[in-house]
Amino acid sequence: MAEGFVIGIDVGGTFTDVVGLDAAGRPLSFKVPSRPGDPASAVMEGVEAFAARVGVPVGAVLEDAHLVHGTTMGINTLLTRTGAKTGLLTTSGFRDILEIRVGYKEERYELDLPPPAPLVPRRLRRPIPERLDSDGSVVLPLDEEEVLAACGYLAREGVEAVAVCFLWSFLDPSHEIRAAELCRRALPEAFVTTSWDVLPEIREYNRASTTVLNAYIGPKVVRYVEDLTERLAGRGFGGVLHFLQSHGGVSHADEVIRVPVRTLMSGPAAGPAVAGYFAERAGIENAVCIDMGGTSFDAGVVTGGSVRQSRPVEVDGVRIGLPMVDVHSVGGGGGSIARVDTGILRVGPASAGSVPGPASYSLGGRSPTVTDANMVLGVYSPGPIAGGLSLDIRPAEEVMDLLGSRIGVDRIEAAEGVWRVLTIDLAQAIRDITVAEGRDPRDYALVVGGGAGPVHCCAIADELGIDRIIVPKAASTLCALGAIVMDVVYELRRSYPMQLSGTFEVEAIDEAFGRLERDLIGMLQGQGAAGGAAQIDAQIDDQVDARIDRKMGLRYREDEIHVDRGLELRYREQLWEIMVPMASASIDRGAVDDVIGRFHERHHEMYTYSEPDNVCELVSLAVRAAVPRQLPELDWDLGAYDDWVRLGEHPVRRRGGSLPTPGLDGRRAPVSVPLAGPALIREELCTVFVEPGWTCTLQPYGAYYLERSVGKEAGS
C-alpha cells in the first residue's frame, strides 16, 4: 500500500492528532483542535492541514490515500449515555441478566453507590420462549409468534436498535439468526445485532452486555462512519479507510459497521502497538507504554513482542467480553490537582482539565497542578505552547506558595513533593499491570507518549528500577502514529466448551477452526462473516494486481494473510482461562497435546504453579488473521547535525539549590551523539527531561533512547 499518502488521525478530547507520511515517506505530525460535536469536521480539517503541509491539493491527497482513524464516537456515546433507544430479546426466564450483573458490586466499599441503570430498561428487555441445552440441542423451539409480538412492542416503543442474545446461542445460532431476521423485517430502520455476531462465547452476562452495548452505540457509530465516508468521497477519496480497533489492530470501515463496539478503545489501544514498533527497532522484547496527557495516565504492556489484551473489562459500569488491548488508566496528568488531605499530600485524580487548566495557563485556574509544579521547578519555561496556549510563571508560583504554606514548606519543596507523590502513584499503575501477571517491571523498557510523559518518564523509571526509556519524537501524537504502523487484524473467537480428557473429539475442533478461518478470511476479503471463501478463491488469478482486487471488493489475496490459531484453556473448576497459541497449522491429537503442555507452562509462569495431572477444559477457539503492514522504514528527516544545539541554560530548581541544565533543540538533534543528563530537550510539542544519571541518544528510527548511566543504581 505504499502507492498513496498514509495518514493516521486520532481524535482526542481537546486535540485531534495527525501523523501522515509525505510523498517521500517522511512522517509529519501535528494537531488540530477537536470538534466534540462534529468530529468528522476535525478529521477533514486534519486531512486539509496535511495536504497544505505537503503542498498537494486535498483531492490529490485523497485520491489514493490510506486513512487510518482512531475514533472516540463509541466511547463518548457510552460515557454520555447518548446511545440509541435499545431493545433486547432474551431467553424467557433470563430477562435480567444485565441488571443482576452476576450478583457482584465492584466498588463494594462505596456503600451509597446507586445501582447502575442498565443500557436497556427492563420493559424493553423482552423474554422469548426458546431454549438450547448445554450441548446445543433444542429444548424448546423458537416461538416466532412471541418474537413478532415483542418486535411489535419494540416498534411501538420507537426502539432504534435491537440486540438479540439467547442462552447457549454460540453452540447453535439459528434461533438468534431467525429472531434477528424477523426483527429486521418488523423494524426495518433499526440497527439489529446478535450475540452470535458480536461475541459467540460462553458466559451470558458478558455476551448480553457486549451485544447490548454494540446495539446501543451502533447507530451513532455507523452514522458517523457513513458520514465520514460520504464527506471523504465528496472530496474525491478513492483509497482505503481503516479504523483502529480495541484489539490493537486496524480494520476496514465495513467491519466497524458490522460490530461497532470493537472501536470502543479505538485510540488508546494504539499506544502499546506503537510501543511494540519502537521496542522492536530498539531490539527490546518487553515494553510498557505510558501515555500521559492533561488528565489521565494510560499504561499498556508489550511482552515478548506481543501486546497484552485482557477481558472481560468494565467500561463505565458496562461489562465488555471482547478482548481489548489492556490499557490501564489512572487519573494523573499535567492538569492533576494537588491538595492536602488530612496530613497527606495527594495529586489527582481531580484535574483542572484544559479549561480552566493549570494556574500557569492564566485562564482562571487557581488550583496547584502538576504543570504548575513543573513551571516552578523550571522544567517548563514560560511562553507559548501547543493549541495557542501560553505558560506564565507568576500564577504557578502563587499556587505553589499556597500549597507550600499548607504543608509548611517553600514553593520549591512543595513542587518537588507534587513530583514525588505523582511519581509513586504512576509507578503503582505500572506495577499493577506487570506484577499482577507475575512480571518484573525491571525487565521492561518504557515507551513514552503524551504531552507530559516525556517530562516525567525518568522519575517513573527510577522509581520502578527500569533502566531503558524510548521517547518517540512523535510522543505527543503517539496513537496517531500507531495508526500508521499497525497491522490490519481481524479476530474471531468462539466457545466450544469441552473437557480435554479421555476421547475428546479432535475432529470437531479441527472443523470448528476451519469454519472460523473461512469466516475470518471472508471478512478480510470484504465478503462479510458469511462470505463463501471458495467463491473468492475461484476469482483469484495470480496475475491480478492487488490494487485492482481491492476495487473489485477483494482486498487481500490469501497468501498476504497470516493466520494464527489459539486455544483458551483452563483447569477444571477454574473460572478464567489462558490463551495458548497453537504452534502447528494442522489440528490433531499431537497438536492439542502440545498446546496442553504449553498451557501448564504458561499457568506456572502466571500463577506460580501448574497441575499437570488435572483435567484441562477447552473454552474457546481463537483465530487471528493479520495482514502485516508493508511499510518501508520511516524516514524521520533527522538531518545531519554533528552535535546538540543549545538553546540556553534552564536551571532546574531543587531543594537547597538548582541544577545547571542546558536546554537543547530537539528539532536539530544529532543522531547517535550521547547526551548526559541533566538536559531538557525542547521538541515542537513536548519537552523531554533527561534527568541526572541518564544518557540520551537520538536514534535513526525517530526516537530518543535513554539509558541509565553505568554505575548508577536503580531507585537512587
Partner: protein, 567 residues
C-alpha cells in the same frame, strides 16, 4: 504522639508505598492462591501492623476480616510473649484466638530489623477445606466446634527461617486437599514476603525513626478522620436490635446493640441470646469485625482501615456464652455470614437512630443450597455450593435505592453468582429461571433492591439438595418506613415442584433428593427501603411499574401511585 516530625510529602510517599505493598500482596494471593474462593472470590485480606500489633494498613479486601487481624495478632503476641525471632512465621485459625471460622487461615510474620522487632505483616485467607467431617467447612450437622475442622492455636510453621516439617505435615494430614493447601500457604507466605521487603526498603530509605513516626502518623490520621466523622453524630445512647432465626425452630434469637456516642468516641455494647448447638455462633474476633463493618456507614468511603480508627471504637461483647460472644464448644462455621449479617444489622439499627441521614436498610441474608450427585457425562461426583440460590436484594440508603440481586452484606456485594451457562456446563442441572422477583422490594422513599426468582432442575436422578442459611421468616428491615405502610414483605421461599406439577414448600435446614422433572423453585427477599414509600418520586414508581417490577395493585396500595393520574 509521634516523636519525629513527618511532613505531608513524606507521609504521602510512605502511605503510597504501603498501599502499593498491600496491592502487591493482593496480586500474589490472586495469582498463586489455589483455593478457588481465594483466587475468584478474593476472600482474603492483607495487613501491615506496627510492632505492638496495631494495624497500620489493611487492603479494601474482605469486610468479614475488617480489624480482626489486629485482634488475632494481639492473641498471638500474648501467646508467644517474647518468644519470637527473625524468620518465624505463625499460622492460626481458631475462633478462640481471634479467628472467624476455621476455614479462614491467618498467617503472621514478625519483621525484625537489626535484631529488633520492627513491624508485623499478616494476611487471612478462606481456604477450600479445613478438615473435619464435611468438605468445605460448613457443617450444618455440627453440634460442637470439634466437628468443624482442624483447630490451630498460634503455631510456628517456620522457626528462625526453617520450615517446621513436623508441624506442617501434621496440619496437611488433617486436610482433604493437602496440595492445594500447601499452595495456599505458599501464596500467603509469598504475600508476606512482599510486604516485609517493602518495609525493609522503607527502613533503609527513611530510617527507623522516621518510619516509626510515619506509622504513628498514619494511625493518628486514621484516628483523626474517625473522630471527626463520629464528632458529627450527636452525643447520646442509641439502641438497635436484630433477630436471628433459630435454626432449631421456635422464636427468633436476639442480638442487641447499644451505641453510646461521647465526644468523638463510640462505645458499642453487644448482647445476644445464649449460644446454641448449631453453626451460627460468633466468637469474639468475628463479632468485632461485624461491629466495624456495621459502622463503616458513618465514615467517609476513603477512611483507612487501620488501628487509629479502631481507637475511636470500644467494643463490649457482653458476657461469654452468647451467640455474639461464643465459647467452646459452640460450633461457628456459618458465623462469617450468619450471624455476621445480623450483628451488622443490630449495629446499623442503633446507628440509624444516631445518624439517621447515614442509615442503611437491611440486606437480604444468605440462604443458599448445595447440589451434589453423580454426573453421568463424566462419571464423576459433583458438589456445588450455589451462591445463585442464596442472594437477594440490598438495602436502600437515603438518595439511593438498594442494588437488586446482590451478594450479601457480609461481602458488601463482592461475591459472584457465576453465569448460568458456566453452571450448566459444570454440573448436571438446568436453570429455568434466573431473574428479578417482582414485588419483593422493601418499599420506601428509596426502595430496597429486588430479590431473585430462581428455578433449577436436576438432569440426574437422585441429586441431593441441602439448604443452609437464614432469612426464611423475617424480611430485611426497612428504616424510617412508617409502620404498616410496607404492604406484604417477601422472605426466602423455597419449594419443590414435583413431577406431578404440585408445589410443596421445603422444610428449612433439610436435605432432599430431586429427580429430573422436578425442580427447586425459590424466591429471595428484596432489601429494606428507607423513608415513607408515599413520598417516593412518582417517576421512579412509574419506572418500576413500567418495568413490571412493581404490580399496579402494590403501587397503589403501598406507594399511593395511580397510573399516570398524579405522575
Amino acid at each position: 504522639m509521634s516523636q519525629a516530625e513527618i511532613d505531608p510529602i513524606t507521609l504521602a510517599v510512605l502511605e503510597g508505598s504501603l498501599q502499593s505493598a498491600i496491592r502487591e500482596m493482593r496480586h500474589v494471593l490472586v495469582r498463586s492462591g489455589r483455593s478457588p474462593i481465594i483466587a475468584i472470590s478474593t476472600d482474603f485480606s492483607n495487613s501491615i501492623l506496627d510492632e505492638s500489633g496495631e494495624q497500620v494498613v489493611q487492603g479494601d479486601d474482605q469486610p468479614v476480616h475488617l480489624g480482626s487481624m489486629q485482634v488475632a495478632l494481639k492473641q498471638t503476641i500474648d501467646f508467644f510473649g517474647g518468644d519470637l525471632a527473625e524468620g518465624d512465621v505463625i499460622y492460626v485459625n481458631d475462633p478462640t484466638y481471634g479467628g472467624g471460622h476455621q476455614a479462614d487461615m491467618t498467617m503472621f510474620k514478625p519483621v525484625f530489623i537489626d535484631g529488633e522487632l520492627f513491624a508485623w505483616v499478616g494476611n487471612r485467607a478462606h481456604v477450600s477445606d479445613s478438615g473435619g467431617p464435611v468438605a468445605g467447612g460448613y457443617n450444618p450437622l455440627a453440634r460442637e466446634i470439634y466437628a468443624e475442622g482442624i483447630r490451630m492455636s498460634p503455631i510456628k510453621i517456620w522457626e528462625r527461617g526453617t520450615m517446621r516439617r513436623d508441624v506442617v505435615t501434621m496440619l496437611l494430614l488433617n486436610l482433604r486437599t493437602p496440595d492445594a493447601h500447601r499452595g495456599d500457604m505458599g501464596a500467603q507466605l509469598g504475600a508476606l514476603g512482599v510486604a516485609e521487603r517493602r518495609i525493609r526498603e522503607l527502613h533503609r530509605s527513611l530510617g527507623a525513626e522516621l518510619l516509626r513516626a510515619g506509622f504513628a502518623a498514619l494511625l493518628d490520621r486514621g484516628e483523626e478522620l474517625a473522630r471527626r466523622a463520629i464528632g458529627e453524630i450527636p452525643d447520646g445512647t442509641y439502641r438497635g436490635h436484630a433477630p436471628l432465626e433459630d435454626p432449631r425452630g421456635g422464636d427468633p434469637l436476639d442480638i442487641h446493640c447499644t451505641i453510646t456516642v461521647d465526644g468523638g468516641h463510640i462505645f458499642a455494647a453487644l448482647t445476644g441470646s445464649g449460644q446454641i448447638d448449631r453453626y451460627m455462633n460468633s466468637y469474639f474476633g468475628n463479632s468485632i469485625s461485624a461491629v466495624y463493618a456495621g459502622m463503616l456507614t458513618v465514615f467517609p468511603t476513603d477512611i483507612p482501615h487501620n488501628g487509629g480508627v479502631y481507637r475511636c471504637i470500644t467494643i463490649d461483647l457482653g458476657e461469654e456464652g452468647t451467640i455474639v460472644n461464643a465459647v467452646e464448644p459452640s460450633p461457628s462455621s456459618m458465623a462469617t455470614s450468619t450471624p455476621f449479617d445480623n450483628i451488622m444489622e443490630a449495629v446499623e439499627a442503633a446507628l440509624a437512630r444516631a445518624a439517621p441521614e447515614r442509615a442503611v436498610a437491611g440486606w437480604s441474608h444468605f440462604c443458599g443450597s448445595t447440589f451434589a450427585g453423580l454426573d453421568s457425562r463424566t462419571g464423576e461426583r459433583f458438589s456445588h455450593l450455589s451462591t445463585m440460590s442464596g442472594i437477594g436484594g440490598a438495602g436502600a440508603m437515603w438518595q439511593t435505592d438498594g442494588w437488586s440481586c446482590c451478594s450479601p452484606q457480609c461481602t458488601f456485594g463482592g461475591m459472584r453468582t457465576g453465569n448460568v451457562e458456566e453452571i450448566e456446563f459444570r454440573i448436571p442441572m438446568r436453570i429455568n429461571r434466573f431473574e428479578l422477583a417482582p414485588d419483593t422490594e422493601g418499599p420506601g422513599r428509596w426502595r430496597g433492591g429486588f430479590g431473585m426468582a430462581l428455578e433449577m432442575e436436576p438432569l440426574e436422578p437422585g441429586t441431593v439438595v441441602s439448604f443452609i442459611g437464614e432469612g426464611l421468616e423475617i424480611p430485611p428491615p426497612g428504616r424510617f418506613v412508617p409502620e404498616g405502610s410496607e404492604g406484604r414483605r417477601a422472605v426466602f421461599s423455597r419449594s419443590i415442584r414435583g413431577r406431578d406439577g404440585v408445589v410443596r414448600p421445603i422444610v428449612p435446614h433439610s436435605v432432599v433428593d430431586l429427580d429430573p422433572g422436578a425442580a427447586l423453585v425459590s424466591t429471595s427477599p428484596g432489601g429494606g427501603g428507607i423513608g415513607d414509600p408515599r413520598l417516593r418520586d412518582r417517576a421512579a414508581v412509574a419506572r418500576d411499574v413500567d418495568n413490571e417490577l412493581i404490580g399496579r395493585e402494590r403501587a397503589a396500595e403501598v406507594y399511593g401511585y395511580r397510573g399516570g393520574e398524579d405522575g
